[in-house]
Amino acid sequence: MNYLPYLIWSSPFVASAFVLALHNRKAAGGISIGSIAIATLISAYELAGLSGHPVVLNISWFSLGALQVNLGMLMDGLSTIMALVVAVISLLISIYSYRYMEDDDGINRYWFFFTFFVGSMLLLVLSNNLLLLLIGWEGTTLSSYALIGHWYTDEPERWVGDADRHTLGVPAWSTPSEAAIRAIVFTSLADVAFITAIGMLYSVSGTFSISVLASSMPHVLTVMQSRGILIPFLIAFTLGAFAKSAQFPFHEWLVTAMTGPSSISALIHAATMVNAGVYLLLRFTPMFISGSLADGLSAQIEPFFIYMLIIGALTAFMMASQATVAKELKLILAYSTASQIGYMFMAIGASFFILPTVALFAAFSHMISQAIFKAALFLVAGVLIHQFGSRYIGDIRGIWKYMKYSSIAFFLAALSLSGIPPFSGFWDKDLILDLTSSAGLWAAYAVGMVVAFLTAFYIFRVIVMTFQAGPRGEVKEAKRSMMWPYLLLGVAALLFGILWPYALGNISGRIYIAMTFDSIIKWVPAQVVSQIPFNLVMSVPSVAVSLAGIFLAYFLYRGGKQPSISKGKAGGMFGAIYAFLYDRWFINAVYYRVFVNGLLEVSTLLGVFVEAKFFDGIYHNYIPNAFARVSGRFRRLQSGDFDRFIGLMFLGLLALIIIFLIFLR
């Protein structure tokens, strides 16, 4: 049996143990980078050796009665490509971090959680077992929590949001330690539903194995439908994915997660962990669709996909709109991440209505593109914020003049994000829009177009503002070892885009795509894959709106201009809209007013009335008194009277005989 793939996720875990055990500032980074390099090499090797069929590896882990849990790995195109993407991006970011975090006090903690995260993420991707997947899933949550709160001493320069600004009476800023707690609370809340759904899945199908579930999904869906909980089950099962991928109403945690180091924002909150939700859906949506087709449940399952479309479109639009007015560089990128993932959810939602394989491929492809260009953007942002000493784009000036290479990387990644041909972002976004229009989902198409416009606008707003000339300070180009990772990512965004149509058009591309999904969608005829609609005429409008967004940004912000609205000075309707967008649609404030303060109220009430009056009464008065009485009786038996002792022994023997006779039937 081939044990090599297990090294992919276990080597970062081993490295994290070493980092913890050695506790050596100098060695920690090297060990971590080495372990991630091993993971990268092996996943590349495994991908190269993959044939059309998925590989399932099993080691028996433990069994408790009928519950048999295997340490299984599922290696098909989807998981292996995903693992390689995760490993490569983690490797580049770890190399970047080596210098970026060099002087940090918590460097051991940083590397421990960094490698722990990479191990968890790879475990999540490669496991063929829902329990194991869940362990990886929660491992990423934990390390995300720790790394968001990495600077837990909460210096004001690490905050997100403007200090002293209040929205509806709720503070509009977040400290790192608060942001960390928000992240873990938001995601864990949804994970409760996820875990419950896994339990339901197990109780119906009797297995945790994903490859086995693929074949028993029709049965599962039928049983759920017969109990009338099909849609609730699907929503519960995917709720964890929605939270992890920062979709409405869980998107708030990602925004404040920007209190972590920029390298972490790039790794966890742009390129890998937030994609875990998309990955989970890509893994299970084919099962849901094929399962529903097999048992004639199409009509019953349709609302679930509409719900996914709505959430995806809403998040994409909401976050893009907020990004147009945000002032903090990383905040803009965070909004952008959630917005782009909204596109992916739209694609997955659309997969029910048209060419499932193609739609899921579009989501998958967009996930990879997004990972590449967003990681590049965040890494450059980290350098900029460090060099200019400010997280506000208003303070960042003249980067084209002083930081040529960083500017090129940023520019390439921004073009990809805007969806300008021939960048990778163009192909998959266009494919998604194309699919929604072909399927007749016009509302989704319209939202997608608007978001495309907003996306181009907000990212070029950043470029126009930061590229223009400004005062020369202590600004200089980043160190080489930090620079080439993001330069490479920026070039990759371009190359990936240039190669995209070739990969799609020729035979090898077809195999590639088929490999990704053939393992589960057995019902899709193979030739469908080659029928990916590709209509250049159809892409004219989307490119046009992107260009429009870019020009609008240039027109509004060129030459150091700032429209009065973006200074927050405009009154009237524009001012109101501005405040609405800047304060994140008031969602955060409402959450705090309703849930946080509401819970505090309830907690106070419970504490005063239920706890103090009722439970304390029972626990501290009633039960102890009752026991004291019984206990006192028992003790009185123990008189020390010797005759009684011996008498009791014989009585006891008699009692045994009597009990025996009573039960002897």
């Binding site: 028992f634 002792f645 009791l648 022994m649 023997l653 039960f663 002897l664 039937r665």
Partner: protein, 480 residues
Amino acid sequence: MDMQIILFYSIAPLVISGLLIPLLRNRQYIRMKGIIGAAALVITLGIWAYEYFSGAISSWLISSSPVSDLARYFLPDWLSLLVAVVAVMGGLLALPLARRLTGNQTVYISIVLIGVGGTIVLASTLNPFLIVASWGLVSVASYALASIAKDRDSLINSVKYAIMGAIAFQFLVIAVFLIYSSIGNPSGALLLDLGLLLLMAAIGFKIGIPPFHMWLPDLYGYSEPLSVAPLSAIMKLGPIALLLRLMLAQAPSGPEMEALLAVLVVLSIVAMTFGNVTALVQKNIQRMMAYSSMAQVGYMLMAITVAFASFSTRDYTSFYFSVGGLLIYLLAYSASKAGIFTLIKGVRSGREVTLTDIRGLSATNGAQSASFTILLLNLIGLPPLVGFWGKLLIFASAANPELSFFYIGGVPWFALIGIINSVISVFYYMKIVRSMYGDSEKVRGHDAPARRFEGLNLVIFASTIIVVVVGIIVPVLLVI
């Protein structure tokens, strides 16, 4: 030479050194005597280890044919092996205590050795003569141990104990006579049942199950703690193993079996509940621990009951769970009680040691308080301490759905009673912890009561380490 004989000789070092040590009359040599005793214990352990590795230990608890076992003196199997290991551990923990004893230290060492020897024989035989002889050996050792300190309480309680023990011994002799005379006797069913009931009564006395327990709260509660430590850690092992072995080997089948099962269940529940509930209101810690011993025996009886039930229905999963749980729990119990009574010796100044006496112990004796806490948590059964694994296995085996006897309407009531009892016990164990840690501020400044731990620390820390380390090893062994 026959393997049987070699194993039988394994107790020879214990008995010989136990008998010879008192001949060295000089009190000066007490340390050397202790080392000789420890060496004898280690040699015994070595012989058992040798036998184990040479494959002489059978994995089965009893052999298939009870009658043919009569001819065999020794039944070396997992039960006797592990009881021997626990008994030797108890012996090694008890020997260092001799130096703190006010009384005949030489005799203390000799008695511990003889008690361990008797326990090993009692746990590994089905021969009626050997049962009676080794029972006598363990009993006499116990009485002598109880009376070794010459204070008033120890003397009175040991006399009571000895007289009641004499009656219990009669029970045992009659029981053995009845059980073995029923073998091969076509109309022997009644004899057998009566014999087994008498056996339960005799063993109930020895391990302190109500209503045969009357000696226990006084003896454990007021006598010299250094006598109580080996009494509770070693002397209960043999009878418990004997009960398990004899019940499995000779038990009848059918309705009589179920009735016997009911008797065992009643004994178990009574022991647990009576022990725990009475312990709740005790102010004297030593007496609290006496009642706690009673409750702990209840859990062991639960294991024996489940083993008995599952053995008769040939449900081997539950059987191995319960027997494994019992053996692990015996170790947890012995280590904890040895350590706890030693700790009580350290804080006891008068006739009683109350909760107020240990107030603020953590401030003056941090390490000892931590040990005390760990040993108590072990008795509660908190992971990762070894007591947890024992309780887990016992409760899990009692909750096995295959054993319909322990289920009423889908509820595993027997396991549930055990769990509820465990919860009740938390209250009084935690009282001690709270007293040691919680009230430390109030004591500072006042003159703290005399606490003398010299000569005791070795045993206290060793038992704590055993409880922690074995607790970490056990799950590893279970998985393998």
